[in-house]
């Protein structure tokens, strides 16, 4: 009787310790697909998708509760990649309508309030109190976070101008 109690208790204790150790050392931090999706997202935490950042958006995508077309800065290319990754089909038709644009400061109305560069996720705006701010076009992701906080509406989105370097031939018209 005592032997049975002892052996069972030992067994339970031993397995308990093993489970505890396994829980500590073999812990799965996060769903791996979530990590992969998060790596594909722009990572600027701009919040345009309605989630508080790229990580929650990635979780929602992995669960299937969000559409692959959720990320405006990622554009159609990202949506297609996400669809391929998740094995879903989606309607991309709405994605080409928003033409890619970047923020720019209108120097005549900027009051130097410093609000815009505090919210910029990529530090693309430079400025100081009561000095005119300016946007680095190369770093701007077009997330519109600054446009929303600007008190004088001097920050506006401007479509990206096509240059000789970025122009390319359109698709040939389909044969009749």
């Amino acid at each position: 009787m005592i032997i049975a109690i002892m052996s069972l208790s030992l067994l339970g204790l031993g397995l308990g310790v093993m489970l505890g150790l396994a829980g500590r050392y073999l812990k799965v931090e996060q769903d791996p697909i979530v990590i992969e999706i998060e790596a594909m997202l722009p990572g600027s935490q701009c919040g345009q998708c309605g989630f508080p950042g790229c990580a929650p958006a990635a979780e929602a995508l992995a669960e299937g509760s969000a559409s692959v077309t959720l990320c405006p800065p990622g554009g159609r290319l990202l949506a297609e990649e996400l669809a391929a990754k998740l094995g879903v089909t989606a309607d991309f038709s709405g994605m080409d309508e928003d033409e890619p644009s970047l923020a720019a400061v209108s120097e005549s109305t900027c009051i130097g309030c410093t609000r815009c560069f505090k919210v910029c996720p990529t530090d693309a705006i430079m400025g100081a109190p009561k000095q005119i701010h300016t946007v680095f076009k190369e770093a701007c992701t077009g997330c519109k976070a600054c446009v929303e906080v600007c008190p004088t509406e001097c920050l506006q989105m401007h479509p990206i101008k096509v240059t000789l370097g970025t122009w390319s031939w359109p698709k040939p018209a389909l044969a009749a």
């Binding site: 722009p42 600027s44 990529t122 770093a139 390319s168």
Partner: protein, 487 residues
């Protein structure tokens, strides 16, 4: 010399009507429109201001970055504007352009140095070639100094001088070889010296007998310069095909000809190198063939860079019928021009005005899978398969079929009995892929910037906490002191 055959290729009608017309100098136009981007790479940065007086050969814009080229004033006069002007490009987009009102003096800038180029080393020669703004004059406009510098990093055995000129209508290289063979050989020897190569092969298509004869006479004096006659077959003038014809070696995908110990330069480039080294003069003019069925008289002109295409056409007597299409370069690979109010640039080997009959636009019909395009492809690709994928938007599929090895020569479109715009699909797909690459690059950059911002905010927060802790400690120390003092 044993020649090798590249696969595929086509035989378009040569239309070399201007081949027996000597090079004429175009009278100096009243205004010159000089774009700051006439080459592959970064645009040059303007150095002059509106109102400045400039002399011929004076620097207008300096090169920026490793792959770029400076721009010089093609004649003397006054800078009257620096603005956006339509580029000689199918998009019709503007490019930053220096507009010069010429004073008619055409006086050269002072202090041009003449020097014996054979006393200079590779770096010195390529520095001078770079400073003279010389780019590949065959039409690709890649900065020549970068290519000459390859002699430092690659063991170069052979310099190939491309006198193929396989595009129909164009005769500018032909005339250059006929009229200035001695200067050309001198330029070629300077390049040989810079590259430290053993031999130079001048490859000329067999449809230019006079040029071959004259170049042979001029090259006879030098053991290491040989003229080689190659068969006339488009695209013989393409770098990959020319290297294959002369050496039998195929340039591997994604590699340079320098990996095989070969460098290819155009004959026009050799002439410009000679002018830059012997006379110290930068590239300010070039030979342009004016041709096409809509032109009254086809000619070869030496044109100052920045001359409007409309003035060039006017000098040749204008049009004898309305042109259906105006091209810069040859009809196979040339750039479609939006109108004639665009300037001649460094890469303009010709301006061609084609009639409706010559253009022969046909309605595309379905692919009958005849395989003509496969037989004509000089790169051994399957154009019909690539086009089908590009058409359906499956770009990765097109890349898997070798889209990136396509040289856009247009042989497939030329032979297609169904008139399918094959090369047009490939140009579209390449542009789209380049846009995706840029997008991807930007996304990576964004991720990095966002990470840096997060790190910075964390650091600031930490610094704030530390400062608060320090202040607290100071306050407590003070309190203790006061307590000790009052006690």
């Amino acid at each position: 010399m044993k020649l090798f055959r590249f696969r595929g290729g086509v035989h378009p009608e040569s239309h070399k009507e201007a081949g027996d017309k000597a090079i004429e100098v175009l009278p100096l136009p009243a205004k010159l429109y000089v774009p700051v981007q006439q080459h592959i790479g970064a645009p040059a940065e303007t150095e002059v201001q509106i109102g400045n007086k400039v002399l011929k050969g004076q620097l207008l814009a300096h090169s920026q970055g490793a792959i770029s080229a400076p721009i010089h004033a093609p004649s003397s006069g006054t800078v009257i504007d620096i603005t956006e002007h339509t580029a000689p490009h199918p998009s019709g987009l503007g490019v930053r352009t220096v507009i010069i009102e010429t004073d008619g003096e055409d006086s050269w800038v002072d202090g041009l140095k003449t020097i014996n180029p054979f006393e200079l080393n590779t770096e010195e020669i390529s520095a001078r070639v770079g400073a003279a703004g010389i780019v590949g004059l065959g039409g690709a406009t890649f900065p020549s100094a970068v290519k000459l510098n390859l002699g430092l990093t690659y063991p170069i055995s052979t310099l190939i001088i491309n006198g193929g000129e396989c595009e129909p209508y164009l005769t500018c290289d032909d005339r250059l070889m006929q009229e200035r063979p001695d200067e050309l050989i001198d330029g070629i020897r300077i390049m040989l010296h810079a590259l430290k190569a053993k031999q130079a092969l001048i490859a000329i298509e067999d449809n230019k007998p006079t040029a071959i004869e004259r170049m042979k006479v001029a090259a006879n004096l030098f053991d290491n310069v040989t003229v080689t006659v190659v068969p006339s077959r488009y695209p013989m003038g393409s770098e990959k095909q020319m290297v294959q014809t002369l050496t039998g070696l195929e340039i591997p995908a994604g590699k340079l000809s320098a990996d095989l110990g070969v460098i290819v330069h155009n004959v026009g480039t050799a002439f410009a190198v000679r002018t830059a080294l012997r006379q110290g003069r930068p590239l300010v003019s070039r030979i342009v063939t004016v041709g096409g069925g809509a032109i009254s008289s086809a000619r070869n002109l030496e044109v100052p860079l920045g001359t409007l295409v409309s003035e060039v056409f006017e000098h040749c007597g204008g049009f004898n019928e309305d042109p259906a299409r105006i091209l810069m370069g040859g009809p196979m690979m040339g750039q479609l021009l939006p109108h004639t109010n665009v300037p001649i640039v460094k890469g303009s080997s010709g301006v061609i005005a084609l009639t409706k009959k010559e253009v022969a636009i046909n309605q595309a019909r379905p692919c009958i899978r005849c395989g003509s395009c496969i037989a004509s492809c000089p790169c051994g690709l399957l154009p019909l398969e690539m086009a089908a994928r590009a058409k359906s938007g499956e770009l990765q599929g097109a890349v898997d079929y070798g889209l990136m090895d396509c040289i856009s020569c247009g042989s497939c479109s030329y032979v297609c009995p169904s008139h399918i715009p094959l090369v047009q699909y490939f140009n579209y797909a390449k542009g789209e892929l380049a846009a995706r690459r840029r997008h991807k690059q930007k996304a990576d950059e964004t991720r990095k910037l966002a990470d840096i911002k997060i790190q910075r905010l964390e650091k600031e927060e930490q610094a704030k906490q530390e400062a608060a802790a320090r202040r607290k400690a100071e306050r407590e120390a003070k309190k203790k002191q006061q307590e000790a003092a009052s006690a």
